[in-house]
Symmetry: C2
Subunit: 430 residues, 2 copies
């Protein structure tokens, strides 16, 4: 009883997937029942490894998603189109979907899952977030009995690598980015990674599952790491923090609306996420009554991502064997969202801040800063004069938990103070 | 369509389970279909919170496992009997089982799973290892497509708390154990925890799933932490290590037999497990092609353990809804083991060692140590004279990876050296 799958794409993750499927000894025994029936590629000219039997490779991707022989389509094309259309057509032809494509799920999830539920097929996407780290299925199957309060992730390996190297070497962003590009850890066009868009796609997916509602990707506030510099990393270190690009989804106290945001963040050194370095990813989930759990591992890479893809395939094979004939989807693995969650604007969130000021007049300035922050209900945890830079005094402020809108009002007032030269850095603190 | 469950036991985890089930708003919606039909307790005299409707509590546990109305039995009694007999009888009556009982699964797993497979019922046990950390289901469902190489866990909260406090406070074992007992982190009789038996039960379960074969609990080598002292913790710190009680399961290079062992271990400070402190647990899994993933969270406690119990219940409810009528179990969640794995004796494992020697004659002794180790193929990474104690020189040796049997032969030779007074500590190094 072979279970026939079709792959769309045979690049890094596609060949990784084939490597596992074609070498099943010592792995889950269901692998032996899976046959790679078709693989869709852009061109047949390139040599491929692992090699596939004659006739398996095709450039006709439409033929794969409509092939009546195929039970499951694995979408590894990435990007929005033609991935979206092919997934929808495959669903329309009754095929289960496994995908590693965070962008298409984050932006077209509603359309895709609605179609899948109507057709009675699964759309699994463990590989879309956190590479090889099992996090999507644990969120659905194990953590959902909790009231989830927070999901915080380091879910972009490129930026975590860059920030780790900047921290270790005291180097600035551009220098380390160039290094990372040379090593293949960053793309030639690094925008999606360094500006936080990739992390935003992923937290949209995690938040939807954790908080049981759809997320409008365009409502996610997103700041990248281009403005991070060696100076702030070093001052953060002195204050007991490391700087990480965090993707955060948090239930508001009304228990209905959410905050979902991506930004560089000062993380206390004793926090579990502070020790997640290089290209590793980690996702921390807090819930009631569970407390805090964290999932850690390789967030990218051929083997890790292929492991997640194949685990999704095998789970679908297992469920097909169990429920033969039944059209019902397991409620623990299907998408059950019906409504979009409301996301708070950033001005309404509560967070701590770190801000660095360059000032003319040291003797009076700390008093002025304190007064301006106080005028806007911003309570300060520490104000430290670090030193001098170009004859200006450098002062670092860390606030308590404050309303973001209040903080920015205070900054507007502070910018008007005569003694303030500039505010080179403003960062949030976990 | 209510799904009726019976609880055996209404202590910490049982009441935690009821708290979640009786307060379903904001959690997985399947919870609303679950009814606590019967709860078996030793005596009806005690007041219980949450309170249950009249007639739910009973002292007749047999009546619960044979009740035709009940779909699923949650065993929270702990210990071997009557847990084992009640589980077997419930299976015999066609009930699914959810249990938090590591001891009964580690020791009677063969009998229980064989009966369950014959009866076509699930036995799920997420709560038995790592409290609220999802690790059993991820191992079965997500990581099994890899060839698992290693599972290493900090899976006993009591000993991790004791070792953390000893490290932070420089205190000795007895003192911290007394503290832990006062705080409720250690039992009045701490044997199962501090001698490693609880961790051994848990690694037996993890190893069986990860390596797809049964484990003879009595073949697991088990050393506890009673002999750990402030001196070795401090020397380990100087050398860049922390001491943790690790439970280790490792595939041998023949890819068939295993090593499964529990012992205090020097862990390099930059290893992901080194930062797992206090009562937290973590499980690190290495596989091919995945690489390293780690699961971290609360290893015990009412809410965490109840979260795992309820997640198992909900998964069974989900599967029942999907496969109504079908008698087949999902191969990803049933136990598929048929054979016992062979475990290597400790003398045949390869590991690094830390040993502390008290010696009479410093000038010659390092040469003697080096010669004796060399005679038995034990290669040394470092030999450091730390200082003097009671007029004896204290020397600490760290080896490279060596055959354990060879190391002990070398020690026998070394004990015969005139210059050696004693060998107060021998510990393994990760």
């Amino acid at each position: 009883m072979a279970f026939k799958i079709g792959l769309l794409g045979y690049g890094t993750v596609g060949t990784g997937t084939a490597k596992i499927l074609l070498d099943p000894v010592g792995r889950n025994s269901l692998l032996q029942e899976i046959v790679i029936a078709r693989v869709g590629v852009r061109s047949l000219d390139q040599p491929r490894s692992p090699e596939l039997p004659a006739g398996v490779l095709t450039t006709d991707l439409e033929a794969i998603v409509t092939d009546p022989e195929i039970d499951l389509v694995v979408e590894l094309l990435g990007g929005l189109e033609p991935a979206r259309s092919l997934i929808l057509k495959a669903i329309d032809h009754g095929k289960h979907i496994v995908t590693a494509n965070k962008a298409v799920i984050a932006r077209h999830g509603e359309e895709i899952f609605t179609a899948a539920n109507q057709a009675g097929v699964y759309v699994l996407l463990e590989a879309a977030v956190g590479g090889g780290i099992p996090v999507i299925k644990p969120l659905k199957q194990s953590l959902g009995v909790n009231r989830i309060q927070t999901v915080i992730g380091i879910i972009n390996g490129t930026t975590n690598y860059i920030l780790t190297k900047m921290t270790e070497e005291g180097a600035d962003f551009d220098e380390v980015l160039a290094q990372a590009q040379k090593l293949g850890y960053a793309e030639a066009d690094p925008t999606a990674d360094v500006d936080g868009y990739d992390a935003a796609d992923k937290i949209a997916i995690l938040a939807a599952i954790a908080f049981n509602g759809r997320i409008k990707r365009e409502d996610i506030s997103c700041e990248g790491i281009r403005q991070i510099n060696a100076t702030d990393i070093s001052y953060a270190d002195d204050l007991g923090f490391v700087i990480k690009l965090l993707a955060i989804a948090k239930a508001n106290s009304d228990n209905d609306s959410l905050q979902v945001r991506v930004h560089p963040t000062l993380v206390p050194k004793d926090h579990p996420l502070a020790n997640v370095n290089n290209v590793y990813n980690a996702i921390l989930v807090e819930g009631e009554p569970l407390g805090q759990v964290m999932f850690f591992g390789p967030g990218a890479g051929q083997g890790a991502t292929a492991s997640a893809v194949v685990s999704d395939i095998v789970n679908i094979v297992g469920m097909m064997q169990t429920s033969q004939g039944s059209e019902k989807l397991d409620p623990m693995l299907r998408c059950s969202h019906e409504h979009f969650k409301q996301l708070s604007p950033m001005s309404e969130i509560d967070t701590r801040f770190y801000a660095r000021f360059l000032c003319q007049d040291v003797s009076g300035v700390i008093g002025h800063l304190g007064t301006s922050f106080g005028n806007h209900n911003v309570s300060l945890e520490s104000v430290v004069q670090i030193g001098f830079r170009h004859n200006l005094a450098e002062i670092v402020v860390v606030t308590h938990q404050v309303r973001e809108g209040n903080f920015h009002q205070a900054l507007t007032e502070i910018k008007g103070l005569e003694s303030i030269d500039s505010i080179p850095s403003i960062l949030r603190v976990l």
